[in-house]
């Protein structure tokens, strides 16, 4: 909150003149038919896109020259608010003259930019950025129809914030590189979550596959684990069943301990696991071969075994020689 946020209610004041003009007089609305396509010597493509939760639907018409893949004409129809109509109108215009592949690369951010009156003033207020997302999605739909491929092959992977087009990788990197701890920081660094806010956490305007709060929690946990491996390992090891603890210890013995002892002709067997006080886990071991009866095994070897187990599994492990 700040001086400019306290009065609120501003929505239309923040539409650019270009948005207003296109809402009042969209240039490219209407339908295209097979006979239009024939006249222009191209193929008719009709694509529908609609977000149930949003109540907006859009239909895009293209006539595409099949030799060059260039879109010769584009029109639309829309059930939506002013922003949706203006954005779709601008999007249709931006398609004309481009190849289908070029058009498929148009994003809602470019559409919004084209609707600005001034370079540095957004064309629509933050929450209405969402309304231009469909204009972008319908191009993907039209491309998949034209190419006769499944739309999922065209979708960019792992877009977390549709409004600002921020990917999962970008958010993860921002958290790691800048050591971000809050959603607000992520928004400040990446713009993700700055607009319709659906991607921040469940319960927003639109259901999402992945939410920023979850990404933040996961990456923070990973960062903590990397910084403090022992503490995290201890917690995880303590949660394992005894059988799994047994197997984990066996694998550390196999990998890190037995090969070292074998060099001196010695060996080690795991006998038992017993819980001690304050979360201590007593690992009962029995020496074999040359280790057996060796004077050094109580101090030197046991310390090596214990430290290796602590480093790999849990700092609460204590070695007990049987």
């Amino acid at each position: 909150m700040a001086k400019s946020d306290l009065i609120g209610g501003e929505l239309w004041e923040q539409y650019s003149q270009r948005v207003a003009d296109r809402m009042n007089n969209p240039r490219n609305f209407g339908e295209l038919t097979e006979s239009d396509a024939q006249k222009l010597g191209g193929r008719l493509v009709i694509a529908d896109e609609g977000a149930e939760s949003c109540g907006d639907t859009v239909r895009l018409f293209w006539i595409v020259d099949e030799k060059t893949n260039i879109i010769k004409k584009a029109t639309f129809k829309s059930f939506g608010c002013g922003t949706a109509i203006a954005a779709t109108d601008m999007m249709a215009e931006m398609c004309i003259g481009r190849t289908v592949d070029e058009a498929a690369k148009i994003t809602n951010l470019e559409v919004e930019h084209a609707l600005r009156d001034q370079e540095d003033v957004a064309a629509v207020p933050p929450q209405k950025m969402h309304c231009s997302v469909m204009a972008y999605e319908v191009i993907k739909r039209a491309t998949s129809i034209y190419r006769n491929v499944d739309i999922s092959t065209l979708a960019e992977t792992d877009i977390v914030c549709e409004c600002a087009r921020v990917s999962l990788q970008t958010i993860e990197d921002a958290i790691r590189i800048n050591d971000l701890k809050t959603v607000q920081e992520i928004t400040d660094y990446t713009k993700a979550g700055a607009f319709c806010k659906s991607c921040i956490q469940p319960g927003g305007h639109e259901k999402r596959d992945i939410y920023i709060v979850d990404i933040l929690a996961r990456v923070r946990a990973e960062i903590e684990r990397e910084r403090n491996p022992h503490r995290t390992l201890s917690a995880e090891f303590a949660k394992l069943s005894v059988i799994k603890q047994f197997k984990a210890i066996e694998s550390v013995l196999d990998e890190h301990i037995r090969p070292v002892l074998a060099r001196d002709g010695g060996g080690i067997e795991l006998e038992d696991i017993q819980p001690g006080e304050n979360g201590i886990i007593n690992v009962h071991i029995r020496y074999q071969g040359s280790c057996k009866g060796c004077a050094g095994n109580v101090a030197g070897t046991l310390s090596f075994v214990e430290q290796t187990l602590q480093k790999n599994l849990s700092e609460n492990i204590r070695g007990v020689v049987v």
Binding site: S4, G8, G9, E10, L11, W12, E13, Q14, Y15, S16, Q17, V19, A20, M23, N24, P26, F29, D48, G50, C54, G55, D56, T57, V58, R59, K77, S78, F79, G80, C81, G82, T83, A84, I85, D117, Q118, V121, A122, Q127, K128, H130, C131, C196, K197, H205
Partner: protein
């Protein structure tokens, strides 16, 4: 500061269309101050600006006007002299005072921990209840039936031995639907449960007479009946008590601290008197104009109006126009100088549809296509004729654009 940089968008493009007057059909949001009300306020700014709690002549001279305003307010809602009407800043304050006050007076320390309210309520009631839920109060939010109504039976069925308060609005702001407060009040009395009613949308549109309908707490706001913004009232029935929301001085008998808004109070007294004097006109003329607009819009195919005509306040019309998104519709109206409102998801800051329309659930599209026209006694026939013409043109244009029509 970039916020206002695009202001030219609303520099009244309607002037280009040749219609020189603005038409205000959003009277459920707020109303024009009646010029007669404005005249009563005027002396209290530069002449009689005394604090009514002062002993000296400046205080002395304003008090008779406040007493007169209290007379107008008491008779305006049919309150008895032994009851209280606390002057406050708005109905939001009044509703918070009642609901939070119940928590501190009763819910906090006894086994009565249940409030019944409805999904139709204004956010100030809903959010106050949500707040109490976080403090261990159980709240039932009654869903309206297909007609948008909450019945006395619904209330009765929801009452348990833990219920302390029922809070049901007198009339709904979005649809104008009038709720059966009289029957609900009988149920509450019979069951020994207190009744609060938010009457913001009722005063000046339907008769609110507490001699006939027994409620324990009632809230209202002057700016909804041609008074100024920033002044409202909270009625508390004789013998009942609520802790103040605002603590401090002795104003309003200790019920509400803060220097009394003298001009606002005097204005509200005048406004309620005029509103009640206009009730017949409201129910005859305003209703006729509303019905004229309603009938004209219904001549378009696939138009539906929410709520039965006889169950609505005479000034309100909530219309769903298939294939026409609500914000687009009010955009086009605004371009022609006509102010209406929408519950459409796309027009709200959160992009969420009005919970009230979702609650009524008559038609899934309703949440996106609804437009509310709310008239007042200042609305003229010519304005309605222009609105009909503009609205029909907008419907035609937007349906041509629409995928879903």
């Amino acid at each position: 500061m970039t916020v206002y940089s695009n202001c030219h968008v609303i520099t009244f493009n309607y002037r280009q269309s040749g219609i020189m007057e603005r038409i205000y059909l959003d009277n459920n949001a707020t109303t024009i101050v009646d010029p007669a009300v404005r005249d009563t306020m005027e002396p209290f700014y530069c002449h009689m600006y005394g604090n009514p709690n002062s002993l000296h002549l400046f205080g002395i001279e304003v008090r008779p006007y406040l007493h007169q305003a209290m007379e107008q307010l008491y008779s305006g809602i049919g309150a008895s002299d032994a009851d209280d009407i606390i002057i406050n800043s708005c109905a939001t304050e009044g509703n918070n005072t009642v609901i939070l006050g119940f928590y501190f007076n009763l819910l906090k320390d006894t086994r009565k921990k249940h409030i019944i309210t409805t999904q139709l309520e204004h956010p100030c009631v809903r959010e106050s209840c949500r707040f109490l839920e976080r403090h261990g109060v159980k709240v039932t939010y009654l869903a309206p039936d297909r007609d948008g109504l909450i019945t006395a039976k619904m209330v009765k069925d929801a009452i348990t031995d833990q219920t302390a308060l029922v809070s049901v609005m007198w009339a709904n702001n979005e649809t104008g639907i009038i709720l059966p407060i009289e029957e609900i009040s009988k149920v509450c009395k019979e069951q020994g449960v207190y009744l609060h009613s938010d009457a913001v949308q009722a005063i000046g549109k339907v008769k609110v007479d507490l001699q006939k309908v027994r409620v324990d707490f009632l809230t209202f706001s002057a700016h909804k009946f041609h008074g100024p913004k920033g002044v409202g009232g909270l009625y508390i029935r004789d013998g009942l008590n609520l802790p103040p929301l605002l603590h401090g001085g002795e104003q309003m008998g200790g019920h509400r601290a803060g220097t009394v808004n003298v001009a606002g109070t005097v204005a509200m007294g005048k406004a309620i008197e005029l509103a009640n004097a206009s009730l017949d006109f409201e129910n005859r003329e305003v209703r006729r104009l509303r019905d004229k607009l309603e009938d004209a819009l219904l001549k378009n195919a696939d138009v539906l109006v929410v709520g039965k005509r006889e169950l609505r306040t005479p000034n309100t019309l909530y219309v769903s126009i298939r294939g026409v998104e609500g914000e687009s519709m009010i955009w086009d109206l605004n371009q022609n100088g006509i102010a209406a409102s929408t519950g459409s998801a796309c027009a709200s800051e959160s992009l969420e549809a009005s919970p009230i329309l979702t609650a009524i659930g008559a038609d899934r599209e309703l949440a996106h296509t609804g437009v509310r026209f709310s008239l007042s006694r200042f609305t003229t026939e010519k304005e309605i004729d222009i609105t009909i013409e503009v609205a029909n043109k907008a419907i035609e244009r937007l349906r041509q654009l629409s995928t879903s029509y």
